[in-house]
């Protein structure tokens, strides 16, 4: 059964077109959220709730008019549409009629989502907590389980009707360690498009060992020296550097304003020839995968950069209208409260020929960023910053002492030309990306890479 009565969807679209809109779409969302916080070795907080709402978009020329409500009544929906339409013009009589046709699309595989009792979930978390607390230095363990079951429907004035069920699941692990005056923490947050099976199959012992090792290393690490130096960034969440330094600048949201440093560089060499990058919404089970985007378009695999040459932008309907770059099935939003925008899905630097040891061996003195933290970018200037969670100095091609407090800063256009070596061990990692259309699940990833020079901020 549909979330929104088709007749009401028709009435909304008809009302929008009557005011002179070129295009109208209606986005309907119902999301069931569940979260479970395990802390102090017990379940501290279990919550659940339902989000429901409808977003209405009228496009007139290059202008997008957007409204939303969670009052699912015809009168309220038409009131909002009329309010938006009045920005375009007076209502005129219209003879158009249309029927929505269900739109078929390939479904991106998702792990089956079976119902699992809270008892089973808590037992899993208890086991993780017990393993992490076996180390006497562990002062606190915080586990945050979230499950989101989103159902969306898209209706538009071209007669499209599409819907999708999107299950998301994530278990964030955080450990805090103390030894005298020393304190440290480590975080790992695997997530997937799927159900409990993903959590069930996680290698618990391996994850816990990794967290304890990282937190212990940080506990006794010395302050990172500051200055410009070569940096080797390891795989997985290391891909956040491409996401922030380049990915956001390839979204038409930024390109259409000519705010991106890459807005006029299509077909040009914007990165080192060693680098190819992809944004792929079709990877089964990955955190940023979709079957259709939030405009109802089937998602796709998009090669953004090939051997350093800019091949495609990440585009949505408005982006295509304003820039001419074809839609890529990348229109995304946090919820019905946001108009869709061109956003990344699963974005990664593709495999190269090198193994990690040969990349490290090429550096006399530099930094090995084994685990990256978060970062941000100013799309206008391309200036970015990233924190490094786990880092070591590289001396004479070998990993040397552990260091803490390292931050990498630079500009996207500059850094892309300095990625000179790309490894062969590609790994992806789930994260949340905040931008113009809210916070959405995205995957970052890369094999190990070498950046010839980057400003490392630490303790001078």
């Amino acid at each position: 059964m549909e979330l929104l009565n088709k007749k009401i969807a028709q009435d909304i679209i008809f009302e929008g077109l009557s005011h002179g809109a070129d295009f109208v779409d209606v986005f309907v969302e119902r999301t069931e959220n569940e979260s479970l916080l395990f802390k102090n070795s017990k379940t501290e907080d279990k919550q659940s709730g339902t989000i429901f709402g409808i977003g209405i978009r009228l496009i007139h020329g290059h202008q997008a008019l957007y409204g939303y409500t969670n009052i699912n009544e015809r009168e309220e929906l038409l009131r909002i549409t009329t309010l938006l339409g009045s920005r375009i013009g007076q209502k005129k009589s219209l003879s158009t009629t249309f029927n929505f046709e269900r739109f078929d699309y390939p479904t991106v595989a998702a792990v089956a989502d079976k119902n699992v009792s809270a008892v089973e979930k808590m037992a899993k978390m208890k086991k993780i907590d017990e393993i992490l607390r076996k180390d006497v230095k562990t002062a606190q363990v915080i586990l945050n389980f979230i499950s989101k079951k989103q159902k969306i429907e898209v209706y538009d004035s071209e007669g499209l009707f599409a819907s999708e069920d999107r299950p998301y699941i994530r278990l964030a692990h955080q450990i805090i360690m103390k030894d005298g005056a020393h304190e440290s923490d480590a975080f790992y947050g695997p997530g997937a498009r799927g159900g409990w099976e993903f959590i069930h199959d996680l290698p618990v012992q391996e994850i816990c060992d990794g967290l304890i090792q990282r937190a212990t290393t940080a506990l006794y690490a010395s302050p990172c020296p500051a200055g410009k130096m070569p940096v080797v960034i390891d795989n997985g969440f290391g891909g956040v550097i491409f996401h922030e330094a380049c990915g956001h600048l390839l979204e038409t949201t930024s390109v259409e304003k000519k705010a991106s440093v890459f807005w006029d560089k299509m077909g040009e060499q914007i990165a080192h020839h060693a680098l190819s990058a992809i944004d792929d919404g079709t990877l089964g089970g990955e955190w940023g995968s979709l079957s259709i985007d939030d405009e109802g378009m089937p998602t796709q695999r998009t090669t953004l950069i090939e051997n350093g040459i800019l091949k495609r932008f990440i585009s949505d309907r408005i982006g295509e209208m304003k820039t001419g770059h074809k839609r890529t099935g990348s229109a995304r939003r946090q919820s019905y409260k946001f108009a869709p925008a061109s956003r990344m899905r699963n974005t990664f630097i593709d495999r190269g020929p090198h193994d990690l040891s040969s990349i490290l061996a090429s550096v006399d003195h530099g930094l090995y960023a084994k685990t990256m933290g978060g970062g941000s970018v100013d799309p206008g200037t391309g200036e970015f910053n990233f924190a490094v969670q786990e880092a070591y100095m590289i001396e004479n091609g070998k990993i040397a002492r552990a260091v803490k407090g390292a931050t990498l800063i630079g500009s996207g256009a500059d850094i892309m030309t300095k990625i000179s070596m790309v490894g062969n061990d590609l790994k992806l990692m789930a994260g949340m990306c905040g931008s113009v259309s809210g916070s959405i699940p995205t995957t970052v990833g890369q094999p190990p890479i070498k950046v010839d020079e980057i400003l490392v901020g630490g303790r001078a």
Partner: protein
């Protein structure tokens, strides 16, 4: 709406539970502009109802955005189910108090036509372009207004009502020259349309971007540093859990065992003022319906108190300070109202210091546990009361706990952050490093 909430609470009571309910409703209008025309126009009406119930000593939370009968029944069922799953929490209670408090803000102003608002929003960008030949684009540019109401009701008979209206404008001037780009964002908020400072937002955005175009890097080393109130507020906010009793309960507050000890330089005092007249908003009650009071957090360098709600005050067997914070979709937490940093032993400004006006990457470059931070910053070099140059492409490194100990007060007047939620006397920090060339 009160009848609906009362009905939910009565149904909760029939299930032998206690509860409180929060209903938030809002309507809003937002518009953004691009290349001298309206690029986005957004209207909304929304509501969300959140239930926190306690049964057999266990807490259950649930919320719904739909207020039909089935949705309300489901919410109660979910909350009861969640309570059943949760571990008993002897510290969390529904406070046993009653009576109503209202906090309704009314502002006198004539209605401004939408067409004029659109025109003004567009002018944010067109003025930038008109005034600066190096203008490339406005990366963010817009206007918003919203009306917000919040109702709190509990099974003990406490109710509160809150309403407010907020207007805001923002713009960012992206300038470019010789391959160098500069982008500075500025905003203003107000309770009335007529009080919005359009000219200030345009001028600040433009002025700072012009300065950034000229930025140079600095030599790596230690500097004496002053923050603008906005920059200091943002840095203090990252470490706000230092004043949280909940963080102390959860063993993630590094100051948990330091009550009564010296934690900052003795010249500093930090207060939380719920009724500070110059603040953007005076707050009469917290999210449990407790009346607010002013609170001394640090006095002459000594940690005097944490923020408390009913849960943390029960746990620590101390007084509830009225700092409960809870939205319909979340658990009981803590939050500040207006922070005031005051000082004594005023010293003269040093002849040379750095003034930092922009800190980036705060969510990633800070460690709330260790206090270490390393952040990209921009600012001015001041020498003998003269602004000598703008610097950028550097990082600021230090430790927050040490930073608060190595500080000098260099003025006695309180200066406000742009959103008037944070006030501080001018301070100079001595134990911070810059990584540059």
């Amino acid at each position: 709406m009160k009848n609906l909430m009362e009905k939910v609470l009565n149904d909760v009571k029939k299930n032998h539970a206690e509860a409180d309910l929060i209903l938030n409703r809002s309507t809003s209008l937002k518009m953004s502009t691009q290349e001298a025309s309206l690029s986005e126009y957004k209207v909304s009406s929304s509501q969300v109802l959140g239930l926190r119930l306690i049964k057999d000593g266990k807490v259950g939370l649930a919320y719904t955005e739909s207020l039909d009968e089935d949705a309300l029944k489901l919410m109660i069922k979910q909350a009861l189910g969640n309570a059943d799953t949760n571990h008993p929490n002897p510290n969390e209670k529904i406070l046993n108090h009653s009576g109503e408090i209202r906090d309704e803000m009314t502002y006198e102003e004539q209605e401004t036509p939408i067409s004029l608002k659109v025109e003004k929003a567009i002018s944010l960008e067109t003025e930038l372009k008109k005034r600066e030949p190096r203008f490339l684009a406005s990366t963010y540019n817009g206007y918003s207004e919203g009306e917000y109401t919040g109702i709190f009701m509990s099974t003990s008979g406490r109710s509160t009502f809150y309403s407010d209206k907020i207007y805001s404008i923002y713009t960012a001037a992206l300038l470019g020259e010789n391959g160098k780009k500069a982008n500075y964002y500025d905003f203003d908020i107000s309770h009335t349309y007529k009080d919005l400072l359009w000219e200030k937002v345009i001028a600040h955005s433009l002025d700072y971007s012009r300065q950034i175009l000229k930025e140079q890097t600095l030599e790596t080393g230690k500097y004496q540093i002053r923050f603008t109130e906005d920059a200091l507020k943002n840095l203090m906010h990252v470490f706000s859990s230092l004043f949280s009793a909940k963080a102390a309960m959860d063993k993630v507050n590094p100051w948990a065992q330091k009550l009564g000890e010296v934690v900052t330089a003795k010249c500093l005092s930090i207060d939380d003022h719920a009724d500070y007249k110059k603040a953007f908003r005076i707050s009469k009650f917290d999210s449990e319906g407790v009346e607010r009071k002013n609170l001394s957090l640090i006095e002459d360098g000594v940690l005097k108190s944490f923020y408390h709600n009913s849960l943390t005050s029960h746990f620590f067997k101390t007084q509830n300070t009225g700092h409960a914070s809870r939205g319909p979709q979340g658990p009981l937490g803590l939050s500040e109202t207006t922070m005031l940093i005051q000082g004594k032993d005023v010293k003269p400004l040093p002849p040379k210091y750095l003034e930092i006006f922009q800190l980036d990457g705060l969510h990633a470059g800070t460690n709330r546990i260790t206090g270490d931070f390393s952040l990209p910053v921009k600012g001015f070099v001041w020498e003998n009361a003269e602004k000598k140059m703008t610097f950028g492409n550097v990082t600021l490194g230090g430790n927050f706990f040490n930073m608060l100990k190595e500080v000098e007060v260099v003025g006695s007047e309180l200066h406000a952050s742009s959103d008037a939620s944070f006030f501080s006397v001018p301070l100079i920090f001595n134990d911070l490093s810059i990584a540059g060339k």
